[in-house]
């Protein structure tokens, strides 16, 4: 069976510090990978998605970036965090094509 791992679960970072969130998927190959952000009491905003190694589509211009160095690894990064980057970050994967996305447990990021 497939599993998705996302860490850390919570993170408190000062403004201006770098960020690296990692997500890995096991049990499948060539998945679509996604990073979403969720503000408190709001829906999920798509940040990045990837259909293959080195292929990243950005949905929202911002100071975040994503990379996919390996088939089942997806990394969300920032060089300098802003207060507005606080939120709940969710990694997800899906099979290719029109199928549901499976979510990790999320990372609660607080920028102080």
């Amino acid at each position: 069976s497939q599993t998705i791992h996302q860490w850390p679960a919570t993170l408190v970072q000062p403004v201006g510090s770098p960020l690296s969130l990692e997500c890995t998927v096991e049990g499948t190959s060539n998945p679509n990978l996604y990073w979403y952000r969720q503000a408190a009491g709001r829906g999920l905003q798509l940040l990045f998605y990837s259909v293959g190694i080195g292929q990243i589509s950005s949905e929202v211009p911002q100071n975040l970036s994503a990379s996919r160095p390996q088939d089942r690894q997806f990394i969300l990064s920032s060089k300098k965090l802003l207060l507005s980057d606080s939120g709940f970050y969710l990694c997800a994967w899906s099979f290719q094509g029109n199928t549901e996305a499976f979510f990790g447990q999320g990372t609660r990021l607080t920028v102080v």
């Binding site: 996302q6 679509n32 996604y34 979403y36 709001r42 829906g43 999920l44 905003q45 798509l46 998605y49 589509s57 949905e59 969710l90 997800a92 899906s94 094509g97 029109n98 199928t99 549901e100 996305a101 499976f102 979510f103 990790g104 447990q105 999320g106 609660r108």
Partner: protein
């Protein structure tokens, strides 16, 4: 871009009653729709999906209805239980694109 939205932000129902959560979408090219349940502090969990060539699909205690004419999606939960309390999101997908989520409806089940 086009958006997915929900008619009601909150819904309170009594235990044992049926719940209906509604969702409107605007992208006429969407051909795949999903309902997710999200409990506090956790990632969304898949509930049920439906493709655009169907208008109804049933699962265990849940039914999804799709009306493509008016671009409307609904989730029906039968005999709602306290464990059903959560935020419910509809999501739509156009082939070749990522899932687009609505803002969510908070369902509160009271005893």
């Amino acid at each position: 871009g086009e958006s997915v939205g929900l008619h009601l932000p909150t819904l309170s129902v009594q235990e044992g009653d049926n719940s209906i959560i509604n969702c409107a979408y605007s992208n006429s090219a969407s051909d795949y729709f999903i309902w997710y349940k999200q409990e506090s502090g956790k990632g969304p969990q898949f509930i049920i999906d439906i493709r655009s060539n169907m208008d109804k699909r049933q699962g265990q205690r849940v039914t999804v209805l799709l009306n493509k004419t008016v671009k409307h999606l609904s989730l029906q939960i039968a005999a709602t239980q306290p464990g059903d309390s959560a935020v419910y999101f509809c999501a739509e997908k156009e082939s070749g694109y990522a899932l687009n989520f609505g803002k969510g409806t908070s369902l509160l089940v009271t005893p």
